[in-house]
């Protein structure tokens, strides 16, 4: 017998999905997150789950984990003191950043609190050129002196970032060796390994973040591995990375920054799993929680990827946070969640980005919140059941929510209470639609050809309205809301991305160099695949960030399988032109202009045979939806302009094959599905609620 467990740590709950690898049978669990040390709830919850199921812990073969440990370490600045070592003259590279204002006219804006204080930024004589040649050799004595000072400062981590090291890692590697000799207790990260991409600020920032989270992540993994070992197995832990692939604990110890978006990536991967239910592998993943909503485009089953993003942003404003260059699933995150505050402004309704969070929270929580939120609007509209919030564990104060919306929104704008609540609902849905359009239409994709997968505490409340605005014909509400991500982890495969910067014109005479480069990258990923301890079919996909000669931003283009012969230069060129035209339009460029490759990438993954799609048991025996009808309550919908009685279903009682039409409300413990008039719903064999809109 072999068991695999998926463990997803969220802000409030830690979710578990335990699967018997042979039968696909699932057992789910949920415990409160232990915020001070999340590993405690992970291990305690796992023990309980195993015991409840009567399993032998020694049968646990794999644990797959999504964690917020890296993100929280950065956002709360909980890491240990970390230093920077850089090229002489560039000590202030982190402090200076790119210098752009994220609010144009607001003179109170500042910069993110630095990860490395200025007194821990050190520099040494050395200099490389952009082609990797050495202009000034590394001053090894200066490295020794700096290492001593770093040791004396008490820094636990060190990021080394030398100019142009993406083109030649020799100086960084030598400096790392010296530091290890002189200050062996300092954990060192070098930029040529963490993020070998040009632009010194972004690379240095990524490198010090890696160094900063390394001690915390390493200790955390150690605690979980030790705990698993006590249960009888060792070396069985895998962690979700930002790129959607899982990696071993050893790999993550070396590259901890790669798990910074672990949780959100796991969520998107989970959404990708519902392609079958949706009848298309073009999906929009929509994860809405208490403070933000995250949208991701999944095309042909593959989530969009980005190479650069920010952490610790202010109001999610671009350029307000700390940038990172690592491959990650491309999520658009906006300040629109259940706790987002609504107000009247200039004769309109504004929602967010400020959130009441969970404390004081929405007015209806009765915890002291005084400003109306999206959750209050959902309650007033009749979508939320005041007596069945979180499965009835928390009573909601409807009268207080009504009064708050009346006072802050309806009265100032001369609207009725219901109109104002609907307005809040529609405005927040529109903000999410705009974010979804930016990642779809903005990149040449038509959202009408995508199905929407809503999840998270507030996703199912707004999913149908978002789909209507985007023109998506189908919405799939996954079964197992609340623990979908833990289930999704069971499905994840190991994946590693490596990249190297080398600016090469795309012409036949450069193909031998390109072949050599890609072969080297393939060998690098091969070593990681060998080390990850998972067997299965290997997949390698090469891609390249290309541009017209003279441009400064690139487009990632997937490359055909190599090695290449002379005539392949034209094939690759055409692939770039197709991508460019799809992104920016046919008229956007001169098709005869020369093209160059800048960053060469290899994405390697293993498809594991053990990870089958588990069937959730379909309840019931072909009975109609009526068996799940809990009652009726008034709910407000756009076209009706007033609250009308609306069927309310218990999701847990809906049998497979049941059909019904909106308006309807489907309640489950952690969320509520809202179906507007005209929505046709059907429960599929796996218990997912598949909703189609007329036509």
């Amino acid at each position: 017998m072999a068991l695999t467990v998926g463990i997803d740590v969220g802000g409030t709950f830690t979710d578990f999905a335990l699967m018997d690898d042979r039968t696909g049978a699932l057992r789910l669990g949920k415990v409160l997150t232990s915020a001070d040390d999340p590993s405690r709830a992970v291990l305690a919850g796992l023990r309980t789950l195993l015991a409840e199921g009567g399993f032998d812990a020694r049968d646990l073969a794999h644990a797959v984990h999504a964690t917020t440990i890296a993100t929280n370490t950065v956002i709360q600045r909980k890491g240990l003191p970390t230093a920077l070592l850089t090229t002489e003259g560039f000590r202030d590279v982190l402090l200076i950043g790119r210098q752009r204002r994220f609010e144009l006219y607001d003179n109170s804006i500042g910069k993110p609190r630095p990860i490395v204080p200025r007194e821990l930024c050190f520099e040494v004589p050395e200099r490389l050129m952009w082609d990797g040649s050495v202009r000034r050799p590394l001053d090894e004595d200066a490295v020794r002196t700096a290492a001593l000072a770093i040791r004396a400062s008490g820094a636990a981590g060190l990021g080394i970032c030398f100019l142009h090291s993406y083109a030649n890692p020799a100086h960084e590697r030598r400096a790392r060796d010296i530091v290890r000799e002189v200050a062996p207790e300092v954990l060192v990260s070098i930029s040529s390994e963490v993020s070998p991409v040009y632009r010194e600020y972004e690379r240095a920032s990524t490198t010090v973040l890696n160094a900063y989270v390394m001690p915390v992540v390493s200790a955390y993994i150690g605690r979980i591995e030790d705990g698993l070992a006590e249960m009888g197995r060792r070396r069985s832990l895998y962690i979700m990375q930002s790129n959607g692939g899982i990696a071993s604990g050893d790999y993550v110890r070396r590259h901890p920054i790669r798990i910074i978006e672990s949780g959100p990536a796991a969520g998107v991967l989970t959404a990708a799993r519902y392609a079958e239910a949706a009848g298309t592998s073009n999906l929009i993943s929509f994860d809405m929680g208490g403070t933000t909503a995250k949208v991701c485009l999944i095309e042909n089953g593959r989530p969009g990827m980005t190479e650069t993003f920010e952490v610790d942003m202010i109001n999610l404003k671009p350029n307000s946070g700390i940038p990172m260059n690592i491959p990650a699933i491309d999520l658009v995150e906006i300040g629109a969640g259940g706790g987002s505050i609504a107000r009247a402004e200039m004769g309109g309704i504004k929602v967010g980005p400020i959130s009441a969070g969970s404390s004081p929270g929405p007015i209806c929580y009765g915890l002291g919140g005084r400003e109306p939120t999206v959750t209050d609007a959902n309650l007033v509209l009749g979508y939320l059941n005041p007596d069945y919030f979180l499965g009835g564990t928390m009573a909601l104060d409807l009268d207080a929510a009504r009064a708050g919306i009346m006072e802050r929104v309806a009265t100032p704008l001369g609207m009725t209470l219901e109109e104002a609540a609907w307005g809040i609902y529609e405005v927040v849905s529109t903000q999410m639609a705009q974010a979804a359009r930016a990642v779809s239409i903005g990149k040449g994709r038509d959202p009408r050809h995508f199905a929407l997968i809503p999840f998270g505490g507030a996703g199912p409340l707004h999913g149908a309205e978002l789909a209507r605005q985007l023109g998506c014909g189908r919405v799939v509400f996954p079964k197992g809301a609340g623990v979908e991500t833990a289930i999704g982890l069971l499905m994840a495969d190991p994946a590693f991305d490596v990249a190297r910067t080398s600016i090469l014109a795309l012409k036949p005479e450069n193909l031998p160099r390109i072949n050599e480069l890609l072969a080297g990258l393939a060998a690098d990923t091969g070593r990681e695949l060998d080390a990850c301890g998972v067997d299965g079919e290997r997949h390698l996909v090469a891609s390249c960030d290309m541009r017209f000669v003279g441009q400064g931003y690139e487009l990632t283009v997937e490359l055909p399988a190599g090695p290449y012969r002379a005539e392949d230069a034209e094939t690759i060129r055409q692939a770039f032109l197709r991508t460019y035209a799809a992104t920016y339009g046919e008229r956007a460029f001169d098709p005869k202009a020369p093209i160059e490759g800048v960053l060469w990438r290899m994405a390697a993954s293993i498809r594991t045979p053990r990870l089958t799609h588990p069937d959730l048991p379909a309840d019931g025996t072909g009975a109609g939806a009526g068996v799940a009808l809990k009652g009726r309550r008034p709910a407000y919908f756009r076209d009706r302009r007033r609250a009308e009685p609306c069927d309310v279903y218990d999701r847990y009682l809906l049998p497979a094959g049941a059909r019904f039409t909106g308006p309807a409300i489907v309640e489950e413990r952690e969320s509520t599905i809202v179906l507007p008039p005209g929505a046709a719903a059907q429960v599929d064999a796996k218990g997912n609620l598949v909703v189609d809109f007329g036509g």
């Binding site: 003259g89 204002r101 804006i109 200025r118 200099r127 200039m346 529109t430 003279g550 400064g552």
Partner: protein, 576 residues
């Protein structure tokens, strides 16, 4: 015939127009070629209604954004609205029509739904070169009129019904040093199409009358908001003056003098009494002067309110014709970006009397120089377009931010990118110790950048200021240290050069730009000694500086505050 727009639809259309402007900017940056646009973010975007009123803008550069409002109307004087067709694109870089110098190229595209004109998508991109006497087209010294500064387009149709006018492109190609300009203008067109598509989608969803009325409502309500915010300022007339160092080597300063009147009908900024226009590429055309007046007033009233025709109606600029801040054509203006700080700061200085806790002291100045190279073998020209940006002035309750653009907005140039493109080596980019203006809250530090020439020769056109007049402090805060520019040559050693001079550089010459520090706020003797100690530990302030500027005595290893000596020193300094 006006439609009623309900609050929800209004909110949705408003959000849609703002995000359309942002999407245009993202598209422009990603498809552009030149370092000014793609790295320096020197561009701006906006959406206009069918009558040419500005409705929304992307958060880019105040100088462009404030000027943009008037551009569409001026273009329509040449191409009346009824002659426009879908896919058209008009351009102009006339300093009076646009934002005050030739490199700023405006592109205005009408947006149609079916046959009906519903608005305009507009963007402006700083072209890295537009011809004229020196690489980068921002030369100050030796420029007598605008005709020396490059090619000028009065409103001209660059695309007609989606077809590029290749002849105009050929004229541009023949007159600029860098072929990137052609690519950047294509990128401008792509960006406007992206914005236009978003406006069309709004019109399709809500109908043209609703869209039109929502845009009108947005403008009118913004005006009301701005009127109310101005009403909360203390009414009166407030005066302030400062100087621009000069307009080139051996020239006199330019007096910048304002009277800012806060009244019931808005804010009026009167430049009467300021210096006359000059024969140097530095004059500030009225649209540009007004743009930074808008930025200054907005920052003390409603900094987060979207800027549009409505907010602008409440702010007026008066400047006598022939004044440096309202020059007559063909006054030269290539380097006018350097004046932006002074326009903003003298208005801030005046507003400090009306709203002392909402203003900032003077910023570090920034440098915006160009260095042109020509490769001897290939003949290829390359240009270093530089932005060296210092710190922000202190304000009541907070130190000024370090290394942040203000009031101008832009981005610095990564050394790794510059070295790939141009024959230079960046040797140093760092903050300057003891440069920040002292105060209870201190200003941001000055910025230093050193660059070595690797080519046999290059032409250097410097563009900076605050080498002679320090950035002022407020409420007892001290001014920031002066900036300077040095050229260190292997043969002749180092020499200070002029902030706006033209120089021939030789191989291995190092140019060192050092901006001024930003001004402080409040009496430095009231600064918390712990804050001074932190600054010394982080090397913003030296031990001597702590004593001299703050009266804080630090001693020992590790350094600690000598409380008694500090109290005594501060007593004696106050008495002095």
């Amino acid at each position: 015939m006006s439609a009623h727009v309900d609050p929800v639809t209004f909110s949705v259309i408003w959000g849609g127009l703002v995000s359309a402007s942002a999407e245009m900017g993202a598209t422009l940056q990603r498809t552009a070629y030149s370092s000014a646009v793609r790295e320096g973010t020197d561009f701006s975007t906006g959406m206009f209604d069918a009558d040419g009123n500005m409705v929304s803008q992307g958060d880019y550069s105040p100088g462009h954004l404030g000027s943009m409002a008037y551009t569409v109307g001026k273009m329509l004087a040449y191409y009346p609205a009824h002659t426009l067709r879908p896919g058209d694109a008009m351009i102009s870089n006339d300093p009076g029509i646009g934002s005050g110098h030739l490199p700023d190229m405006y592109m205005v595209c009408p947006v149609f739904l079916d046959e009906t004109l519903i608005g305009f998508a507009v963007n402006i991109a700083h072209q890295i070169d537009i011809g004229g006497s020196g690489a980068g087209s921002q030369v100050v010294d030796g420029i007598l009129d605008n005709y020396q500064e490059g090619i000028r387009f009065l409103p001209t149709m660059l695309y007609r019904a989606g077809e590029p006018n290749e002849e105009i492109f050929r004229i541009i190609e023949a007159n600029v040093r860098m072929p990137e300009v052609i690519g950047d203008m294509r990128a401008q067109y792509i960006a406007n199409q992206a914005g236009g598509a978003r406006m069309q989608a709004l019109a399709r969803t809500y109908g043209i009358p609703v869209l039109r009325q929502a845009m009108r409502d947005l403008i009118d309500r913004s005006e009301v908001q701005m009127r109310e915010a101005i009403g909360r300022l203390k009414p009166g007339t407030y005066r302030f003056e400062d100087q621009l160092d000069d307009v080139g080597p051996g020239t006199a300063p330019v007096l910048a003098k304002v009277a800012v009147t806060i009244g019931e009908d808005g804010v009026t900024v009167d430049w009467t009494g300021s210096g006359p226009q000059r024969e140097a590429g530095l004059n500030s055309y009225l649209s540009y002067t007004n743009a930074y007046a808008l930025a200054a007033v907005k920052s003390v009233t409603l900094p987060l309110l979207p800027q549009n025709a409505g907010t602008m109606r409440m702010i007026r600029t008066i400047a006598p014709e022939g004044c440096f801040f309202n020059p007559r054509r063909p006054a030269p203006c290539g380097g006018r970006a350097t004046v932006s700080h002074r326009i903003y700061e003298v208005i801030m200085g005046a507003l400090a009397q009306a709203a002392p806790d909402k203003v900032i002291a003077a910023n570090s100045h920034f440098f915006n120089p160009n260095i042109g190279f020509q490769d001897a073998q290939t003949g290829r020209i390359s240009i270093v377009w530089e932005t060296i940006i210092g710190g922000v002035g202190a304000r009541h309750g907070a130190d000024g931010a370090e290394a942040l653009a203000s009031p101008w907005n832009g981005t610095n140039m990564p050394a790794e990118m510059q070295e790939m493109k141009c024959p230079i080596l960046v040797e140093r980019v760092e903050l300057i110790p003891d440069s920040a203006g002292a105060g209870k809250w201190r200003g941001g530090s000055g910025m230093r950048k050193d660059m070595r020439m690797l080519a046999p020769d290059g032409n250097f056109y410097n563009l900076g200021d605050r080498h002679l007049f320090q950035p002022y402090g407020l409420a007892g805060g001290r001014p920031g240290a002066l900036g300077r520019t040095l050229i260190v040559s292997p043969t002749q050693g180092g020499r200070e050069v002029h902030s706006k001079g033209n120089y021939r550089l030789a191989e291995n010459d190092v140019v060192s730009w050092q901006t001024a520090g930003a001004g402080g706020y409040g009496d430095p003797l009231e600064r918390d000694p712990e804050a001074v100690l932190r600054d010394v530990r982080a090397r913003f302030v030296s031990v001597e500086g702590a004593r001299r500027d703050y009266g804080v005595v630090l001693a020992g290893a590790p350094l600690a505050i000598d409380a008694e000596a500090t109290a005594a020193l501060r007593r004696s300094m106050r008495a002095a």
